[in-house]
Symmetry: D2
Subunit: 312 residues, 4 copies
């Protein structure tokens, strides 16, 4: 149950079987930091090339293919006061016919600057000048991109995502959440980066409020868990994550993984699982911007707890 | 501001330019009932063929193509105690590779029976026997299918949806919500049906708890509104609805309609709209079962109200 | 085996259960004409509203739901010398990111005029001025939109398509081809229109060379055929047609219908069908422009004939 | 203009920046061999792990990011007489509703064995027993998977594809064709593998007739070509390749790349390009099985040659 303070000096723009920066044990906690999507750190220095540079990888002793790596996010909080964000909705999220019309009405692609008050937990729009004025929003810090090394020796761009995690840009990946990732290589090799002080659902502008973060996480291992896609638990929900395009395929992965969870891991009967999910399932949109889109399937933990208490 | 009590004896399985059953004025309220998706009414008699039979159409005096018909749902509540529901998740929402595996583990397609306690506002699973036992859930009544006659003299199956509304199966269409529909024909010709006592997001089993409903709604007219897709307002949100396949196209329609609403109707500047939506937009999944899927784009009304109070 | 000369004066912009304009018997031939997509006839008069106005419907005696209506196209040839065509590729067929760039480089949407020499069988580009000069192309006349009345009393816009046919814009619908359509209503109610002197695959500009046509077709009936999607035969191929969005769904319908044809109608064994299709299937893109896209699955008739001659 | 005989002993299951096995000059020819998708070589020995193992990479002197690597396939011919193939159409190519039905009618997934007569150029089905008997088909050898190292230091599974090439499974990649690939890293790093003696369009069963091949190819370099997706030339056509899911996105990439080719490289005017493609474009389906689907956009070279001869 060691607590490691790790100060990263090297960053990766792919998630793959890179040499580990630190070896940790199940139960350990890591206190570290992430640079922003553009590679800028807490002190405003660009220390990595742009494109969601990752801190890590962390080698988890005992992790083997087929296991699940559980990562609990204990702290995700901005460590500086300046965030940047896109100011244009991505073409792929708008009607194709609208785009030609749009190009005559929107200005050049500019980046917005936001001032983040880490004590108040707010962000204020500083520029450009828009009708929003100095809009102030409560922040809701999250991690856009994290994951474990994929199979076959692949090294995959941090622009996209898959069964191993990656750039999912789901605002539900916030503090207090535990995420399970399928392990594909020895040691799992966990990466983390791309913090957003705030992000709309879908990440439709292609960015959140991009900022460097203080991150603290703890790991555990579930041997031979046999999960196929990321799973997570928040206080209220258990959830599964599908990453693919189109959204129709992402939702198939997320939904099927939830069926497997309830049926194989929680040992519910097939008819009960289908009946329950049909009337009680919830969905979140992760992102509809990255090369793979992200859909999240959720079930209320309170609902499940009720089921177990009540004899049939 | 008349209040019409209308008892329907004829039902339609297409939404189109059928002869109106009642002529009403903007400001009027209609108190009526809908039969369930299978055509069964409050007294358990099958009075229409299955497939989301609709009550209506209601002709709204003064409505012309280009206007928006505003419908406020004042009451949506089950008028009997028996609901039926599917017990299998639709193949199109699961991984194709999983389906062949699935057919050996799931029983035949059976329908579940639920007992609805309209006083308590709960539903209890009566059959089939599953590990859920007699699961009791709070109901959350909604209307799965409603809309106005589409353009070109079309009559479109109540299985699907489009810019005119139709079978959207969005659980956000509940009491207290006001929906705006683009008017395509004189009188608008409003239809309503397909009540669900409860439904999971996505309607992934292909049904909610299908039940007949007491429905009360009031209409208003916004002349030359020029909306292109359904819009709505709940207490917390303004929202737009896109109906299409794949989900990627549905979300394009919903998102673009929200841009138009903020920019053209609320007169916000383009840069402000994109900046705001990028960080604050929310999405709901309507249905991912019907021939056209439904995605909903939402913005918090409180957030917008704050914007207007604060000078830039 | 009557031969009917039918001169249409009324046209429909939906395919639905409209009053028949002519009653014919299986085995009969109809000699008629179609107006172009904009409603203009052989003499250059606009006699119908734009949007693929249809000639028909023709009531085929004895046709009942579950039957297949076989339509053989005996003649499809332009009956005037002027065609019009779009000059811009549709936004939905181009990369979203390219569209904003594009709007600054392409001129306003203009229509090209083509002069069709019906004796030589060629089309010459007359305007606008482009680097193509007076490009001359051999024509290859086809029908973009035809079908039978759909189920449930629907009347569906001639902009789109479905199991009943409709606006499929497949250049393989040319003279000599026999098309089978699933019958949904008594008399089948066959419609025909939207001739193209020539069209690229995918109809990516949204039009072919739009022109009025002389059309001659003969009908036959296959009782209780139980087909689900349009099927066809050319000299070289048997083919099946799927109409849906995205293309991924259209190709599922076409492929599954071919499996059914080979397995249920030609009585091949399942393993043989899958093995054969895996290595010998061909696909054509119908359209990727209309609300429903069209994909065509083909098998060589020579290949199948060879199979039947050779004992296993 | 050297001619290298290269006998590979090491194979890669990712396309990435691996150490080159041979350094060649533009103009050089390489005579080598590929193992089959399962890793079996000409002599029937399994020398690599399954999953489209690649021969290479070949480092091309002078190749830099932004260039195009031109690869002409001079020889692609089976070097043994045994091929294997799947006998079941992939679930993702069939209607979801059909799949549950299907599992009860198709046998277990078995592999077919084919005997390839490399002199006659034919393949004969040897097993399993089906109604096809000992079906004999002419072979049409092609390469399913080849490409150059992608950007960002990625190493991507040979199961999928992208702008760099990869597992495109397009039957048009046959002898005589020249393919241009965008160069992302110094030396380009060209890989080649996954030969099919024959394959249906779409590779809908997930395999062709998988076989090891003798392969001969020659390379050239086009500096600062700025292409974004693979391009190719056969005797009759110039073509562009888009790799993505859904097919709708793959066709957008292919179509846009053809617009760029005609407009930027062949210096045609925008209006001419759109007018010509609208009426003359052709499409092929590469694969609809792999994680990324492949669509091919084609223009007749004879048509373009005609354009250049004729003054406007």
């Amino acid at each position: 149950m060691a607590r490691h303070e790790f100060d990263s000096v090297e960053f990766h723009s792919t998630i793959g079987s890179h040499p580990p920066v630190l070896r940790i044990e199940p139960g350990d906690t890591v206190v570290t930091a992430t640079v922003d999507a553009g590679g800028w750190d807490a002190r405003g220095r660009q220390v990595a090339a742009p494109g969601n540079p990752q801190t890590g990888p962390f080698f988890v002793t005992g992790a083997e293919p087929g296991d699940a790596l559980e990562v609990r996010f204990d702290r995700i909080w901005p460590n500086r006061d300046r965030a940047v964000a896109s100011t244009s909705i991505a073409p792929r999220v708008l009607e194709p016919e609208y785009l030609q019309e749009l190009s005559s009405v929107t200005p050049e692609r500019v980046f917005a600057e936001w001032h983040v008050d880490t004590k108040q937990g707010t962000a204020m729009l500083m520029s450009p000048e828009t009708g929003l004025g100095h809009l102030v929003l409560p922040i809701d810090p999250m991690l856009g991109c994290f994951g474990v090394a994929p199979d076959r020796g692949q090294a995959i761009s941090t622009a996209t995502s898959g069964p191993y995690g990656g750039n999912m840009d789901y605002r539900g990946f916030r503090v207090g959440v535990t995420v399970s990732l399928p392990v594909f290589v020895e040691g799992a090799l966990f990466f983390v980066g791309d913090g957003h002080a705030l992000q709309g659902e879908g990440e439709i502008a292609g960015t959140g409020l991009e900022i460097s973060m203080d991150v603290e996480f703890s790991v555990a291992l579930r041997k031979r868990a046999g999960i196929r896609w990321p799973r997570g638990e928040s206080r209220e929900h258990m959830f599964t994550v599908g990453n693919a395009r189109p959204m129709d395929q992402a939702i198939q992965h997320a939904t099927t993984e939830m069926v497997r969870w309830l049926q194989n891991d929680l040992c519910m009967d097939a008819l009960g699982v289908h009946t329950l999910m049909g009337q009680c399932v919830e969905y979140d949109v992760g992102n509809v911007y990255d090369p793979a889109y992200t859909m999240v399937c959720k079930i209320s933990k309170g609902l499940l707890a009720g089921l177990r208490r009540a004899p049939a």
